[in-house]
């Protein structure tokens, strides 16, 4: 059967196989022995399969509740629903590390299958073998998932109701798909540095993996934010917590990479920069993976951290970041061609895009690590929170959005495309009139107006670009609809940004919040709407009892819209209580109610919010992820004359 020993054995097998995956092909390349260097592919397949079996045996141990495995005993329970038994296998440090490794194996396998045999492929597989080896060693030597427990307990201890949540269960795999996908781009970048041939072909291969990883990372971050929104009951969706920042930094760097690799593919320029971005994006994913496990920075989201692991992690980082950067320093000067583009060209737009994204990555990096540095040098303890990021990150992003609207309208090499002029004039006109209207009519802050204006500017420019390229008023639009998939992907992803910004702005600028302590029968105003509190009722669920607040929601004309029933749940078997916010989600906005403490004598505390358009935040993120996926499908070099601008 799939016993834990088999799982452990397979991990060791994968470890030795990936060691061989480094040594044999390297010898093959040095001796110009093609057969030896092609062993890289077979070895990758073997180690991938070994990793799959290993992970399967861990999931199996969770499914059958084998409490002789320490990890199962401390994180599962025989009474858990099956789905959460399975997802519970990666809801802890050891298991999530194994998930990371398995995804690494999956990407390795996909890479072997998809790419054509070449020196670049062999070198990439050698680098991937190195990454796999380090992670397997980390897992086996410091965080073994298969450690046995003797005697085995009768039941496990992990029946935490809060963690039995599908959003929380899907968040890590999605995020890891992104992190690990960036490792492929990283490996190809190193291979490119070694071969010295970073050309259109290199970029075509890299772009596929970057776009895939970027889409998964986008979806993963959105899932995490969504979970925090509906489960934590704080009403917020982003807290600038170190762990959240750790996932945002690789996203920003990957976004820069996604754009710069296009320049390499089209023009073979920005070559060394693109390599640097690939190294940076993966390094930041490593930081993201490890930041919660090292004991270096602590966060509310962290796994129980152990500084002893930190040393091992630091060594992995030295190898995975230090060595490539050294190689980069040696080789980067010899790559690429001299620039030959006009000041107002697509290239300039994409360079601006990259600079802005890198600056914003730095801002997040500084905000995340500044407390650590300050503490070391002065002993002072601070936490850096939303005020810093609002002041530093948002303006830079604002400038980014300003250019994000113009960049796609520019033509490669030559300058501003004439046909795009109407789109720009139209957007500018729309934005100016909106600014004037807002200044005159509303009491919104200047920063708020700037945000609205930028969102409008971006949205109008995308629509303008779309309309003036397709020109539906002229005959033969069918011909013009046949744009490359990348073009549609870009429009979708950029428009996803518009939707995201709309949600983020509306939910913060026009939010209504009311925190009250009330008795039964009270009327509570929430913006234009009114709520009536009909008291608290005891209810029973399948394995819990609740205190449920009964709230009726009325619109401004006094018509009943809906009921809201926030709960405080108590699980007698586990002796735990949880808070369940009542969220009424509509496209136009969410009503959000949380029941606080209280009793019928002194009244109950209720926290009520109305957040307009808040769900657009996640819609936008999904659109971005889909845009990235669409762009995978057609290669950029099937150039359409429309993309060239004429």
């Amino acid at each position: 059967m799939l016993s834990p020993e088999i799982g452990n054995f397979c991990l060791i097998l994968a470890l030795t196989t990936s060691a061989a995956q480094i040594i044999l092909p390297t010898l093959g390349l040095l001796r110009a022995d093609a057969r030896l260097s092609h062993t890289a592919e077979g070895l990758q397949v073997i180690s991938s399969i070994a990793m799959f079996i290993s992970f399967a045996s861990l999931i199996y141990a969770f499914m059958v509740s084998d409490f002789s495995v320490q990890l199962v005993a401390s994180h599962s329970h025989s009474l858990k629903p099956m789905i959460y038994k399975i997802t519970g296998s990666w809801g802890n440090h050891e298991g999530s590390l194994l998930l990371w490794i398995v995804i690494l194996g999956l990407f390795g396998l996909l890479f072997v299958i998809r790419e054509e045999r070449a020196r670049l492929k062999t070198l990439t597989l050698i680098v991937m073998g190195g990454i796999t080896l380090s992670f397997l060693a980390f897992s086996l030597f410091t965080s073994n998932a298969f450690a046995r427990l003797s005697p085995a307990p009768i039941d496990g201890r992990g029946l935490n109701p809060v963690l039995q949540d599908i959003g929380l269960a899907l968040h890590p795999p999605m995020l890891y798909l992104g992190y690990v996908g960036l490792s492929v781009a990283f490996a190809i970048a190193i291979a490119g540095l070694l071969t010295g041939q970073v050309d259109k072909n290199w970029a075509r291969i890299t772009r596929f993996w970057v776009a895939l990883a970027w889409s998964a990372l986008t979806a993963g971050i959105a899932l995490g934010s969504w979970w925090a929104y509906y489960e934590l009951g704080w009403g917020g969706w982003w807290f600038w917590d170190p762990v959240e920042n750790a996932s945002l930094m690789p996203w920003l760097a990957a976004t820069a990479l996604l754009h710069s690799v296009i320049v390499v593919e089209r023009r073979e320029q920005m070559v060394s920069w693109t390599i640097l971005m690939a190294i940076t994006a993966f390094s930041l994913s490593l930081v993201g993976t490890f930041i919660v496990r090292s004991g270096l920075l602590t966060s509310v989201h962290s796994f129980a951290s152990d500084p002893a692991r930190g040393i091992f992690i630091l060594f992995i980082l030295l190898g995975a970041v230090g060595l490539p950067l050294f190689l980069y320093g040696l080789r980067a000067g010899r790559l690429g061609r001299a620039s030959d583009y006009h000041l107002f060209s697509r290239e300039t737009g994409l360079i601006l895009n990259n600079y802005i994204l890198v600056v914003s990555t730095f801002i997040v990096l500084i905000g995340t690590f500044y407390p650590l540095g300050l503490e070391l040098f002065t002993g002072a303890k601070i936490t850096v929170g939303a005020p810093y990021f609002d002041a530093a990150f948002n303006p830079v992003m604002g400038i980014g959005i300003l250019f994000m609207a113009i960049g796609p309208l520019l033509v490669w090499r030559r300058g501003l495309v004439v046909s795009a002029r109407p789109a720009i004039y139209l957007s500018a006109g729309g934005v100016l009139s909106a600014i004037i209207l807002l200044l005159v009519l509303s009491g919104i802050s200047v920063a708020g107006i700037a945000g609205i204006a930028l969102t409008l500017w971006l949205g109008l420019s995308i629509i303008g670009d779309l309309v003036f390229r397709l020109r539906p008023w002229q005959a033969g639009m069918g011909q013009r609809l046949r744009l490359p998939a990348t073009q549609w992907g870009m429009w979708l992803a950029h428009f996803g940004m518009v939707i995201f910004l709309t949600g983020a702005l509306a939910s913060s600028l026009f939010e209504n919040e009311n925190i009250v302590r009330v008795q039964k029968g009270a009327k509570i105003a929430l913006g234009a709407e009114t709520l009536i509190f009909d008291g608290v009722e005891a209810r029973t669920g399948p394995n819990y009892v609740t205190e449920t607040a009964l709230l009726r929601l009325f619109d401004k004309d006094g018509r009943l819209i809906d009921g809201l029933y926030p709960e405080k749940r108590f699980y007698p078997a586990e002796r735990q209580s949880t808070t369940e916010a009542a969220i009424r989600t509509r496209l136009s906005g969410d009503h959000y109610a949380v029941l606080g403490d209280g009793d019928s004598d002194t009244g109950y505390t209720l926290r009520l919010y109305h957040k307009p358009l808040v769900s657009w935040i996640w819609f936008g993120a999904v659109m971005m992820a889909c845009g990235g996926l669409i762009a995978l499908y057609r290669r950029l070099n099937t150039a359409s004359p429309l993309v060239e601008g004429k």
């Binding site: 230090g322 950067l325 980069y328 403490d597």
Partner: protein, 186 residues
């Protein structure tokens, strides 16, 4: 040549960051690095009402709220946390002055029990926060972390990191003394 030097800039930057991280890690390992007072959004606000299963009495609950007769202290700890051992003597002294409620943060119950048996139990009650849910509500930065709370449930002080001899005598004991003086005035 100048061009190739700029290509080493990323490496230099990384080296600086790595050295900082290494020093921080070494200091954390040796127990030299301490996380002490942190500004907290909670200070001056009502305590997040927390109900946790008791570590000591399997049938009972530990409730933290604003319905007490005297100010009290809440201390997040864990058996896996080395600095928590370091602050055990200070907590023992404080326990004579003020009621202390312990919260075992992300810990196994048997480990917490062994920890209390080994290093002494300064707590009147101990709640189990296995999942770190309470820690999330409180915005715990890392264990150990200590809060002083007024009788009516307002967070008066937050201290992240172990209480050592220095801040025991300079911060905690004077603060508790002043609280008692205030209470007697009323």
């Amino acid at each position: 040549m100048a061009r190739s030097v700029t290509h080493f800039l990323p490496l230099i930057l990384f080296a600086i960051l790595a050295v900082i991280a290494a020093i921080a890690l070494m200091m954390t390992l040796s127990g030299e690095r301490k996380i002490s007072e942190l500004p907290s959004a909670l200070v001056g606000k009502p305590v997040p009402v927390t109900e946790l299963p008791s570590l000591i009495d399997a049938q009972a609950f530990v409730t933290i709220d604003g319905t007490r007769d005297a100010p009290y202290m809440v201390n997040f700890f864990a058996s896996w946390c080395a600095p928590c051992r370091a602050e055990a003597p200070a907590l023992a002294i404080l326990a004579k002055e003020i009621d202390i409620i312990g919260i075992a943060y992300k810990d196994k119950p048997e480990d917490s029990q062994k920890f209390l048996a080994d290093f002494g139990n300064p707590y009147s009650q101990v709640g189990m926060d296995n999942a770190g849910r309470a820690g999330l509500d409180w915005g715990v930065y890392g264990v150990p972390e200590t809060y002083i709370i007024s009788a009516d449930g307002i967070v008066l002080k937050r201290h992240a990191g172990p209480i050592d001899g220095d801040n025991l005598h300079k911060i905690f004991l004077p603060f508790i003394a002043s609280l008692k003086a205030q209470q007697e005035k009323r």
